[in-house]
């Protein structure tokens, strides 16, 4: 499939005129849900509890790798309040993936509700539901399990070697690339001929980088509450990013029809990818089906850290071939990733590592390879950025290293090679979502402006002028980034709009606001298209019984994909309003137009939406004015961004203080600029923690030693630098009102820009995350000796 460049190529520059005419979008009104949330009235999953609800506690595996020989629940069954005990002996074994992706999921079916084998410390063994959580916990402690302890493997490279202990020998798993060598997934893609290009390069540089575990840490841990309604249908209130995938996968694992399940997404206390996982629905659902009683299962914070999902640790081997003048001829990235015990998102996260980072710079020759290994460590999965932060850490560290080797200014080196409007993404076909992708042409690109504005904001000219004679040494660096907007050809969203008597509208969307602000943004898009104010839109998201399908809140898709479905439904509704008005006036539709919540006639007459609705409800031409629309895009326009950081390294303590941070981002037309800033600031702060302070500390047996917020150090307000977000608007012609996406791209920048700035400050290159004070202190001491 090819895109005709001449015909379809439209940078949208002409449409920038429209930009000034926006009434509701490209403004920052109060978020539609913020006030109730600030008053504590927002209803999260745990804020409604039915009488008689049972509470679940799980017995987790204390071993990294073991076979369960026997489970004795006889004592636990006799404990007060115990209502139901579930384990591999009494729950049907259904191979599935917990990855909440489109069907068929590109992740292996290597997971079971319960298995007779445990594969990491924190794997499921046996669940107890009791009248109270305390009773359930006491009963869990009374369960006796005989384990046959097996040899564990913790190193992904060792796991892939012949003779390594095999994690998934079971015959009923499917979709594993090569279970006999613990290879969950494998990707290999080459564009051009890298060997040939390396041969004619003036410099070929090879470097190895590594990145570590990182947990999403939504402040609301995973939770699901189930009950049977009066028709005995299973109702699941769950903190999820993917209500429709949740319904489908739950139906699969508990073996009841999809029609018997209703998934309700209430307010969600953050997701960041970890709630793209169907992780906690199955146990309370099974308890409810067996006991006919409501059931609640909520992770504790330590369970969230140990037994939810994480960012894939990776080892990245980079190779880049360049000419003396700075032209990149070939880029190669070889990844060994650790997916932990199960392969959720194993293929697609790693695919994005290459797919997001490599094409940023034009090279003509690319090679990407990824081997994703099973190990007896915690599970990786989806995490905001989805492979991008790993890829950009290697890529943007590499860019600085190569620039230095050829004696070129690192910014100039980037400017020379970076993608430009009209370029085709060279890897979009080779690296699709588990299958061949679609060609992508860059239509909107504000990269150069991001670089220019960022340099100005941080005071780039000060770089290299710091007085670093004392123990506190300053450094400054920058990186370039790109991401995507939805999964092309796969992510589909739909919206439903109906008119009410007073001219207001109900907007029902499957899109899932998890704190991102999408309820506000989608309402703005509807209001803009309908020519009404934001207050006229009553949005509801999302409930599998009431709202139409949407793949969910992931892949930076909601504004770009769901937003377009809303815009289409609104346009269809306006057409119906015009038709109804024409009928009321007994005139032609031509020339009639919508403005300020009314249909206008060229002669000056107007009919308010309320008038039209009341007429079509009660008097004449009676029908409900309503429309629905779906949207899928074969395009995936990348947002672009440049991050700048100034920091100070104290070589006496190894401490790093971030002083100033600038993120300039081209997200197309920002629908809600304040929310775009918020996404940028929040996304960056997550990866600042990853770069500097967040780390799982394992003991020899593979158990996490620091599974609470005291030991696992997220960034706090005190750690944040002076942060400046610069929105660089472009008009993306394929997006709703010119919008692209903004949520994931900020997570890509902090790790490489911090590593580059530390190098600028003290001349030591850190290629392994996290860059802790201890590592810096040791490296400085070794350098000084």
């Amino acid at each position: 499939m090819t895109v005709e460049k001449d015909e379809k190529w439209d940078t949208g520059q002409d449409s920038m005129e429209e930009y000034d005419r926006f009434k509701v979008v490209n403004r920052s009104p109060r978020r539609v849900d913020a006030l109730k949330l600030s008053q504590g009235r927002g209803t999260f999953t745990d804020d409604q509890l039915l009488p008689g609800t049972l509470h679940v506690k799980m017995l987790w595996s204390p071993h990294a790798h073991a076979r369960i020989v026997a489970i004795d629940t006889s004592e636990a069954e006799k404990m007060p309040g115990v209502a139901c005990i579930l384990h591999h002996g009494n729950v049907t074994r259904i191979p599935h993936t917990t990855a909440g992706q489109g069907y068929p999921e590109p992740s292996p079916y290597d997971t079971f509700v319960f298995d007779d084998r445990v594969r990491y410390v924190g794997d499921r063994v046996c669940a107890v539901a009791a009248e109270t959580a305390v009773q359930a916990e006491r009963a869990v402690q009374a369960i006796r399990v005989d384990y046959e302890v097996l040899e564990p493997v913790f190193d992904p490279v060792a796991a892939l070697k012949e003779g390594a202990v095999v994690l998934h020998p079971e015959a009923d798993a499917s979709g594993i690339a090569d279970a006999s060598r613990n290879l969950a997934s494998h990707i290999a893609a080459e564009v051009g001929d890298v060997s040939e290009a390396f041969g004619r390069s003036d410099l070929v540089l090879e470097r190895q980088y590594s990145v570590h575990y990182h947990q999403q840490c939504p402040i609301e841990p995973h939770i699901a509450i189930t009950h049977l309604d009066e028709d005995d249908r299973l109702v699941v209130r769950v903190a999820t990013q993917v209500p429709f995938h949740s319904r489908r996968i739950l139906a699969q694992v508990i073996e009841i029809p999809i029609s018997r399940i209703r998934v309700i997404k209430p307010r969600i206390g953050g997701g960041f990818g970890v709630k793209q996982e169907v992780l906690v629905e199955d146990i309370p659902a099974l308890v409810t089906l067996r006991t006919k009683r409501p059931c609640r299962w909520s992770y504790t914070r330590s369970e969230e850290l140990i037994s939810a999902r994480t960012r894939h640790p990776q080892i990245l081997r980079m190779k880049m071939g360049v000419k003396k003048d700075g032209t990149i001829l070939a880029t190669e990235m070889r990844v060994v990733a650790n997916t932990g015990a199960y392969g959720a998102h194993a293929l697609t996260v790693q695919s994005c590592t290459g797919g997001k980072a490599l094409p940023l710079y034009r090279a003509e020759n690319y090679l990407f390879e990824a081997e994703v290994a099973y190990t007896n460590l915690p599970n990786a999965g989806a995490f905001r950025g989805y492979g991008g932060p790993q890829g950009f850490f290697a890529m943007e560290s590499m860019m600085d290293e190569v620039a230095e080797e050829i004696g070129m200014d690192a910014v100039k080196f980037r400017e020379m090679n970076v993608l430009r409007p009209g370029d085709e993404n060279p890897l979009s076909v080779a690296l699709g979502e588990g299958r061949e992708g679609f060609p992508q042409i860059i239509r909107s690109c504000g990269m150069q402006e991001c670089i220019d504005k960022g340099k100005e904001a941080i005071g780039w000219e000060r770089r290299g002028t710091f007085d670093n004679s004392g123990s506190k040494k300053r450094g400054m660096a920058m990186v370039c980034l790109m991401h995507g907007s939805g999964i092309p050809g796969i992510d589909m969203a739909s919206a439903f709009l109906k008119l009410n008597d007073d001219g207001s509208f109900n907007l029902l969307v499957g899109a899932t606001d998890i704190g991102t602000g999408s309820d506000t943004i989608l309402s703005q898009i509807a209001a803009e298209e309908l020519k009404v104010s934001l207050d006229d839109i009553v949005i509801y998201s999302s409930d599998t019984d009431l709202t139409p399908f949407d793949t969910g809140a992931y892949a930076s898709s909601t504004t770009y994909i769901s937003g377009m479905s809303v815009k289409k439904a609104a346009a269809g509704t306006v057409a119906q309003l015009i038709a109804a008005a024409a009928k009321m006036w007994e005139t032609e539709e031509e020339g009639l137009f919508a403005k300020e919540k009314a249909i206008h006639h060229p002669d000056g007459r107007q009919l308010s939406y309320g008038d039209i609705c009341r007429s079509t409800f009660y008097n004449d031409n009676q029908h409900q004015i309503m429309d629905h629309a779906s949207h899928l895009s074969y395009e995936c326009p990348p947002p672009f961004s440049a991050h700048f950081c100034e920091l100070e390294v104290d070589v006496h303590t190894g401490g790093v203080k971030l002083l100033k941070y600038v993120a300039a981002v081209d997200c197309g037309v920002p629908i809600h600029p304040n929310a775009c800033e918020g996404q940028t600031e929040g996304g960056a702060s997550i990866s600042m923690g990853w770069a500097l302070s967040e780390e799982f500390l394992f003991d020899k047996g593979g158990a996490i030693q620091n599974a609470d917020f005291g030991g696992y150090k997220m960034f706090s307000a005190m750690d944040m630098p002076d942060f400046e977000t610069i929105l660089v608007p472009t008009y993306e012609p394929t997006g709703p009102f010119g919008a692209k996406s903004v949520s994931e791209i900020p997570t890509d920048g902090p790790a490489p820009v911090i590593a580059n700035a530390i190098y600028n400050a003290i001349g030591i290159r850190f290629r392994d995350l996290p860059i802790t004070p201890e590592k810096i202190w040791r490296a400085w001491r070794n350098k000084s000796v």
Partner: protein, 161 residues
Amino acid sequence: MIRFQAAINGATVDWEVEPHEFLTEVLRRHGLIGTKRGCESGHCGACAVLIDGREVNSCILLAAQASGHEIITVEGVKGEAGRPHPIQEAFVDSGAVQCGFCTPGMVIGTKALLDENSAPSVNDAQKMLAGHLCRCTGYVKCVDAVLDSANRLKAKEGKAQ
């Protein structure tokens, strides 16, 4: 069971609690759901309440210990004539509310700070917010909200005089 008597948001309550129950559980059981469970180890601040005017993480305070005291939860932080409190308005208008799970705790923290210090610096705001973990915002707009809250309260005082 232990008898728990306190003034919560201005109303006197007389409840029975288990000896091992933390205050968060008891408040939530009685419908005060604005007090959130984020970590249950006293780190994240989502469960913050005011006890005799001081900010306390209610997830690590035994309910029995709070008996006999004056407790304010986020539901008790109100403006005049049924309006939201200026702190809440400031959080909304600054864009400091994303998922909103940590917001009630931050509102409580801001109230405690401003009751002590009506003109906080950026550093004062950051110090207070350091007791409130948030994964959505990066705290930038939360600092703005704290400073804006102080300005709104000052303006209101000015008007009242």
